[in-house]
């Protein structure tokens, strides 16, 4: 905290009021309503609702589709994090290596970050369409790829669509992290260790840990929430709901099925998951890495 501050006065509330006001009305009010939805059940005609304790939660635990979505979300975020993280790191290390053209490479690799997930999905659609999709035909030649029927193939489809633009963000963050490492540390390590491959894994990579863990959170959040637009423009959950993320399933149950109780309960389950990941990040990971 600042040593020099203004004394508490009414003016502080003027500075806080706009954001607090917006958050209270458009964020806290809906959250409270989410909890209300989650613990009530609408009657079939939508005339009234009654308090049902944890029934909505019990229903989603009984629903095999919920576990399919859960499994897919976990696999999806893990694979996206792994793919985009390692390709981003690989590219960042190479860009950090070159003497000339570093900023040109940055420009040529940053722009996919700006594309909306839904737009990426629509584009991916063209490459995976049965009619003229290049990747569809390539993979079909190789192993009979057919994402309409094969769960594995549909995973490949949404993983490629989901990873493509996220490589950008990983690249830029890793490059920034690499450039923040002090030159003297790298120079000293060059004297001690001639093998550049080993030098990277024993010196540079551990120094990148803060960036890495930050990116893990960014990528998981992306896979959880931002991929809605990708799923909705590619597989729409096909085959039979195997590629629905938790967010996608909650939306579909609420929108198509008009089951707000279930959608609310699913939202609260996701809030809990996000909370657990965040606490895990702060408690176990932040304490174990060294910031220089």
């Amino acid at each position: 905290m600042k040593k020099v501050q203004f004394k508490s006065s009414y003016s502080q509330y003027l500075f806080l009021a706009p954001q607090l006001g917006i958050l209270l009305i458009f964020l806290y009010w809906p959250i409270i309503q989410t909890f209300r939805d989650a613990f009530t059940m609408q009657d079939a005609f939508g005339f009234g609702s009654k308090f049902v304790w944890f029934d909505n939660f019990l229903f989603i635990f009984d629903d095999p589709a919920y576990f399919i979505a859960f499994k897919f979300t976990i696999i999806y975020s893990f694979v996206i994090t792994l793919i985009t993280g390692s390709i981003g790191l690989l590219l960042a290390v190479q860009a950090n290596n070159v003497m000339h053209g570093k900023s040109t490479y940055k420009t040529l690799l940053i722009w996919p970050y700006a594309i909306a997930p839904a737009v990426v999905g629509v584009m991916a659609n063209y490459f995976f369409s049965e009619r003229f999709g290049l990747l569809y035909h390539l993979f079909h030649e190789l192993w009979g790829f057919n994402w309409y029927e094969s769960v594995f193939d549909s995973y490949i489809y949404v993983i490629i669509a989901g990873s493509w633009k996220q490589i950008s963000a990983n690249f830029i963050f890793f490059l920034a992290g690499l450039q923040a490492i002090q030159k003297s540390v790298i120079e000293a390590s060059m004297i001690d260790c001639k093998n550049s491959f080993r030098r990277f894994w024993t010196i540079t990579f551990p120094l990148l840990m803060p960036t890495t863990f930050f990116l893990i959170i960014i990528n998981i959040t992306y896979a959880f929430f931002d991929t809605f637009g990708i799923i909705d423009t590619t597989t729409i959950g096909a085959p039979s709901g195997e590629t629905r993320t938790l967010v996608y399933k909650a939306y579909m149950d609420g929108f198509r099925g008009l089951d707000l109780g279930s959608a609310g309960a699913q939202s609260i389950m996701m809030m809990l998951i996000v909370l657990v990941i965040t606490i895990f990040q702060f408690r176990y990971i932040e304490g174990k890495i060294h910031y220089n």
Binding site: L91, L109, R131, F255, G264
Partner: protein, 273 residues
């Protein structure tokens, strides 16, 4: 010599990375300049055709949607209003809130801090239907206000500004106080000019965030008059080349902004030098 080899290897890897990014977009662009029958017969194209003007003009001016009430041009206008609104509203409110949190000795500082920052853990996707019903109750469905405000209810920029203010040396406030500046003057004359890079970075970040919204506009606009570009992708009918052209145009504004203002963006968001 080894230096030359390793750096050639680096350039090669980077080149492959760039191609993975560029080739798909290029192919959609090249295909968007052909005729539909060409695409239907020969698939995606690598080289340009000569229907560029024809296809793009038709997409911009064609009356699309279920009721044929909206053109792509109008969608771009809507997206622009929405993205600009989100950027300005969220940056201004965040700038002010972060100022109060860092520069005031507030009574319930910790509580306020948590009330504001815990919201980052609850993205709009997790409260989408209740947010919709709040908007419906406030009669804000089908309005620019309805598109903008719930997306602006975000404390991400506040977090960035707070981090930034904390790195501002204490001497700045001391000298400002000696100059007789009150809280408002210090904020406007000293702190805002100093935060210029961060402000531009956050404006870009929130603009792109607002422009790229898909789910929320889908839900909150039942009238075609308020459709935005990104959600319109799913709604627009038309032949394949027109859809290609629409996809291409939809990604131009955010990409252009990121490339042109790249320096500010990278400096602010990625904390890079």
């Amino acid at each position: 010599m080894t230096r030359f080899i390793t750096s050639s290897f680096s350039h090669l890897i980077l080149l492959i990375g760039i191609l993975i990014m560029l080739v798909p977009v290029w192919m959609i662009f090249a295909s968007s300049t052909h005729t539909s029958s060409m695409i239907n017969m020969n698939g995606l194209q690598m080289f340009l055709g000569d229907s560029f003007y024809e296809n793009y003009l038709r997409v911009l001016l064609y009356q699309g949607g279920f009721f044929k009430e909206i053109t792509a041009l109008k969608m771009f206008f809507n997206s622009f209003i929405m993205a600009t609104g989100v950027a300005i509203l969220s940056v201004v409110t965040s700038l002010m809130a972060a100022y109060a949190l860092v520069y005031y000795r507030i009574k319930y500082a910790t509580l306020l801090f948590w009330i504001i920052f815990i919201t980052i853990l609850v993205p709009l996707e997790l409260r989408i239907f209740p947010t919709y019903s709040v908007m419906a109750e406030l009669n804000l469905v089908n309005s620019y206000f309805g598109l903008i405000v719930p997306i602006s209810a975000s404390a991400i920029a506040t977090l960035f500004f707070r981090q930034f203010y904390k790195t501002v040396p204490d001497e700045l406030l001391e000298s400002a106080k000696l100059d007789g500046a009150n809280t408002w003057r210090f904020f406007v004359d000293f702190l805002i000019p100093l935060s210029k890079t961060m402000i531009v970075a956050m404006l870009i970040f929130m603009f792109v965030f607002g422009y790229n919204q898909y789910l929320w506009p889908l839900l909150v606009t039942t009238s075609e008059q308020y459709w935005t570009v990104v959600m319109g992708l799913k709604m627009m009918s038309g032949s394949i080349v027109h859809r290609f052209a629409f996809v291409m145009m939809s990604m131009v504004p955010p990409i252009l902004i990121i490339i042109v203002l790249q320096k500010y963006f990278i400096k602010g968001v990625f904390q890079d030098k």
